[in-house]
């Protein structure tokens, strides 16, 4: 059975985030919101990193169940970390958790449980800042991810397969990304091939699509290409996705269109097993 390897400190896995930082990311997202795509994507990465840190926190602190790389692509292709981790590629999760660039105090209004709204302040760690500059060298970014993944599985041949998550507005400027995407997925551990998931942020004012099993609801060719190059959700992730209310089938791909992808972290299985999959 594949995608069943235990994720542990002795046998860690890795996450490679690819962040589109091209000029077009300064456009607003669709749906009348005034947020820029670059803000949405940076927010998504920061939330994912916070979520992973919490998921892997144990009594003595955050455990290195994963090593994390965040690669930005736009004007250049390289580490997108800011702050103490700037310039680094794969970083053990415990260091990521300890070393954000800063912790922002964000004020927001939340329901008070009695029908009203109340203002509250939360601490929001930031590792990646929004950037929008230059072209969209997605193929080069995928190649960089491929190199990291290939090296990782050579060193951890029995690990839970690495996960590459690409956050983009879709339009590659250095060629057809499909080939580079497949190349990423040719790198395997004994537990299965590396997984490539995509988050597509788009100004095309369309309905959000979360983990679809067909491209029929997708508005354009970019979305369809990204859907095509996304990996199928492995069985146990599908199982947890269904528990989170996602209608997942065996054709469901790791693709999200204009929607939240942090739920992905909840699809990960650390230590405990889901017996009914056997």
């Amino acid at each position: 059975m594949t995608y069943a390897a235990e994720i542990s400190r002795a046998n860690p896995s890795c996450f490679v985030f690819l962040v589109d930082q091209s000029a077009s990311m300064s456009d607003p997202i669709g749906g009348g919101a005034r947020q820029r795509k670059a803000d949405v994507v940076a927010d998504a990465i920061n939330r994912l990193l916070a979520e992973l840190s919490v998921k892997c926190a144990k009594e003595e602190g955050v455990r290195d169940y994963f090593h994390i790389a965040v690669i930005g692509y736009g004007h250049t292709v390289g580490s997108a970390f800011t702050g103490p981790l700037a310039g680094r590629d794969l970083v053990p999760l415990s260091q990521v958790a300890d070393k954000p660039a800063r912790v922002e105090k964000r004020v927001k209004k939340v329901p008070d449980g009695a029908g009203g709204l109340v203002e509250t302040t939360t601490r929001f760690p930031v590792w990646v800042d929004p950037v929008a500059n230059g072209a969209t060298p997605m193929c080069r970014a995928l190649s960089r991810a491929e190199a990291l993944v290939s090296d990782w599985v050579a060193r951890h041949p029995d690990c839970f397969p690495p996960i590459v998550l690409n956050l983009t507005d879709g339009e590659s400027t250095d060629g057809d990304p499909a080939s580079a995407a497949w190349a990423v997925q040719t790198h395997v551990s004994a537990d299965g091939a590396a997984l490539l998931f995509n988050l597509h942020v788009s100004a095309a004012n369309a309905v959000p699509v979360t983990f679809p099993d067909t491209d029929s609801a997708l508005p354009d060719a970019y979305a369809r290409t990204l859907f095509d190059m996304s990996s199928l959700l492995p069985p146990h992730m599908r199982f947890y996705a269904m528990q989170q209310g996602v209608m997942a089938s065996d054709k469901t791909r790791g693709f999200v269109y204009n929607a939240d992808i942090t739920s992905l972290v909840q699809f990960l299985d650390i230590g405990t097993r889901a017996t009914d999959l056997r």
Binding site: A57, G61, T186, R273
Partner: protein, 715 residues
């Protein structure tokens, strides 16, 4: 403390609602006045991490946070990240059942359905008393070198298992994270999400436990007081093994591994399990016996294991407790442990000596040694037969002493020890040879993987290059074709322009002639050209300015003669009109011509233009259609080429994936073999050294020494 609950659902589940993620709880807990609004936890102080955010202890299905309320009471608050069916009812049943027990392993809890407010919705929490204790793995790490303490915890654990069974309780997820060891060696059991109590009979299990502690055959339908049997064997065997041989902690598991000495792969395939084999072949008979029993369970009773069979009868709790008193360590050890507890460098065993001396043999030997030197002179001087008797006596003595030596119990023990030393030495050499061979293989595997990668990279580049070449050739051909059509279009356009220019020229000429024709010579009033000359001009056909196009002058002898050039190009002389007058008439025509030019047509009228356009439109349409067709076909071909490339790339990707999968499997098997070989070698070295030491103790057990012993009584 740690919790790691897990839930499973059956297909008849009611629709699930998404629960907040761990990070969502961390966010909500930054304002405890809000998230616990209306409960006595409102405003409680939450333990934070280095970033000042609530510090979680996460399991797969919940996070636990430490909160301290105003009176100083500290709680562990468990927040669930996935919905569990009938959770409240299960906890109520568990709570009621545990309340009736008087066991010291329990931890008090309170299930609060409307426990925490997250983004406007209420979710349940489990409020537990905070336990000052560490999880089993951390405790073992701190106590590996204290076999007495480990042994005590093993005994305490066996007692806990018996207590659970007596109470009709099944915990469901016995594992290192849920077994907490207090500073006094007490054992607490936490995380009751999957607990069975009699009131829950008939329900499916809410979780199936940690993979490294559970039978591969366990399913959600296994839910009863016996659900902990398998995991209790796993924990107990590990603890007994560690108390017996602490080096196993390092040898049988990776640092940071999330299991004790055995893990899921050992349960799934016990026959191939190195770890299990190490335990079942351990020099310590007690451990070996326990491991063999568990191996038998794995092979034959994995789905329904028998209850734990502790190696020592369970002592009353109080007795076990006293073990932890800081008494002399060895004094309080269970008997099976005492012999194994040794300092790091064990003292060599005492030298073995002979201790069974046969007095008759001693006398005989003394007699012979005294008498034998006399044998030769006696044979020479007295009787030859004495020599024969002498030799016979010597032979007989040799036979008797040899037999005596062989009968010495020390001698057979020495032989065994030496044979064992030889065997262990050979085993060590074999282990070393295997490690060396595997080392060589490592290099080979790396090289082959690199080669395979190079080959595939090359194939990938080749594919792209071929595609680029095909695409380039295609684009070139298309360009040439389009250029040709473009040239045809240019030519056609030029031809149309030319025709238009020609027509325009004709129209301009007609305009000029019509204009000039409006000016008769007779009304021109050219100086010196009266009616007579006008008549002469008319005689040659020049009536208006339109009737001639110019004047040229021929030289005839001394005179220059003016010759009018008619419209048809003929030259005529006009009687009476000489050079001067002809010049004036021509100037008159030239002036009129200039005037006419000022308002001549500069372009064709649409009516004139249209027939020409129509004539060329068909050709242009044909060419435009051709152009578009070439472009369309080119786009189709490009798409086809792209699709062909993608298909080829997909095939290659599959090929690479297959090759990489094979490499990964080889690597995994190889890495495991290397790790195991390293442990085997380490253990073989130790065993060989021990064998040497043991054999060395018999170094005085030789025939020569035996003779000396027989003579002197000194070993």
């Amino acid at each position: 403390m740690t919790t790691s609950p897990s839930f499973t659902w059956t297909s008849d589940d009611e629709p699930v609602r998404a629960f907040p993620s761990g990070a969502a709880y961390v966010e909500a807990l930054q304002n405890t006045a809000l998230c616990f609004r209306g409960t006595d936890l409102a405003g409680a102080e939450v333990r934070v991490d280095a970033l000042g955010r609530p510090r979680a202890i996460s399991g797969n299905f919940a996070g636990v946070f430490s909160l301290t309320v105003s009176d100083g009471t500290r709680y562990a608050i468990k927040c669930f990240t996935r919905e569990a069916r009938e959770q409240a009812a299960r906890y109520r049943a568990v709570g009621e059942h545990l309340a009736r027990l008087d066991d010291d392993w329990t931890v008090g809890f309170d299930y609060v359905s409307q426990g925490i407010l997250v983004e406007g919705a209420w979710y349940p929490v489990l409020r537990m008393e905070w336990v000052e204790a560490v999880s089993l793995i951390r405790w073992i790490e701190q106590n590996t070198d204290d076999p007495a303490a480990v042994s005590h915890v093993a005994a305490r654990f066996a007692r806990l298992v018996a207590e659970l069974a007596a109470a009709g309780v099944g915990h469901g997820d016995l594992q290192h994270g849920n077994l907490l060891i207090g500073a006094d060696g007490s054992v607490k059991l936490v995380d009751y999400d999957g607990m069975y109590v009699p009131a829950l009979a008939g329900l499916p299990a809410a979780e199936t436990g940690h993979r490294n502690y559970q039978s591969p055959d366990r399913t959600a339908s296994d839910f009863g007081p016996e659900i902990d049997r398998f995991s209790s064997w796993v924990v107990y065997l590990s603890l007994v093994a560690l108390a017996t041989d602490p080096s196993l902690w390092r040898q049988l598991r990776d640092e940071d591994a999330e299991h004790l000495l055995l893990a899921e792969p050992d349960f799934a395939d016990p026959a191939a399990s190195f770890r299990l084999a190490t335990l079942t072949s351990h020099p310590d008979a007690r451990l070996r016996g326990l491991a063999e029993r568990f191996q038998e369970i794995l092979l034959h009773h994995r789905a329904a294991p028998p209850p734990l069979e502790p190696v020592e009868p369970l002592e009353p709790l109080d007795t076990v407790r006293t073990v932890m008193a800081p008494a002399p360590v060895n004094a309080a050890l269970p008997s099976w442990m005492a012999e194994r507890v040794q300092p790091h460098v064990p003292a060599p065993p005492p030298l073995v000596r002979f201790n069974r001396r046969a007095p008759a043999l001693a006398v005989l030997t003394w007699a012979l040694s005294v008498l034998l030197p006399l044998g030769v002179p006696a044979a020479i001087f007295v009787e030859e037969a004495i020599a024969v008797a002498d030799v016979s006596a010597l032979l007989a003595w040799t036979a008797i002493t040899t037999l005596g030596y062989r009968r010495q119990p020390e001698r057979s023990r020495a032989r065994d020890a030496r044979a064992e030393r030889k065997r262990l030495h050979r085993a060590r050499l074999a282990a070393a040879a295997r490690a060396t061979r595997l080392d060589k293989e490592t290099r080979k595997i790396t090289q082959e993987a690199e080669k395979s990668k190079e080959v595939h990279d090359y194939k990938r580049r080749l594919l792209q290059q071929r595609h680029n070449a095909r695409l380039g050739a295609h684009q070139q051909a298309v360009k040439q074709h389009l250029d040709r059509i473009d040239r045809d279009r240019q030519t056609s356009l030029a031809r149309m322009h030319l025709e238009e220019q020609r027509l325009l020229a004709v129209r301009q000429k007609e305009h000029l002639r019509a204009h000039l024709a409006e000016f008769p010579v007779k009304t021109a009033g050219v100086e010196g050209v009266g009616p007579a000359l006008t008549t002469n001009l008319e005689a040659v056909g020049i009536r208006t300015a339109a009737d001639f196009v110019g004047v040229r002058y021929d030289v005839q002898g001394p005179n220059r003669v003016a010759i009018f050039v008619l419209v048809d190009g003929r030259g005529v002389r006009v009687a009476g009109i000489g050079e001067v007058k002809a010049g004036r008439i021509d100037q008159w025509r030239a002036r009129l011509t200039v005037k006419a030019a000022n308002n001549r047509p500069t372009s064709l009228t649409p009516a004139e233009h249209q027939p020409i356009k129509d004539r060329f439109a068909a050709a242009k349409g044909r060419l435009d259609a051709q152009y578009k067709q070439v472009l369309d076909e080119a786009a189709t071909t490009t798409r086809e080429l792209q699709a062909a490339l993608r298909a080829e790339q997909a095939v290659l990707a599959d090929e690479m994936k297959a090759a990489n999968t094979a490499t990964a499997r080889i690597r995994v098997d190889h890495d495991r073999a290397v790790a195991e070989a390293t442990v085997v070698l380490e253990r073989a070295r130790q065993a060989a050294a021990d064998g040497n030491t043991r054999a060395d103790a018999f170094r005085t057990i030789t025939y020569r020494r035996y003779l000396r012993f027989t003579l002197t009584g000194k070993g």
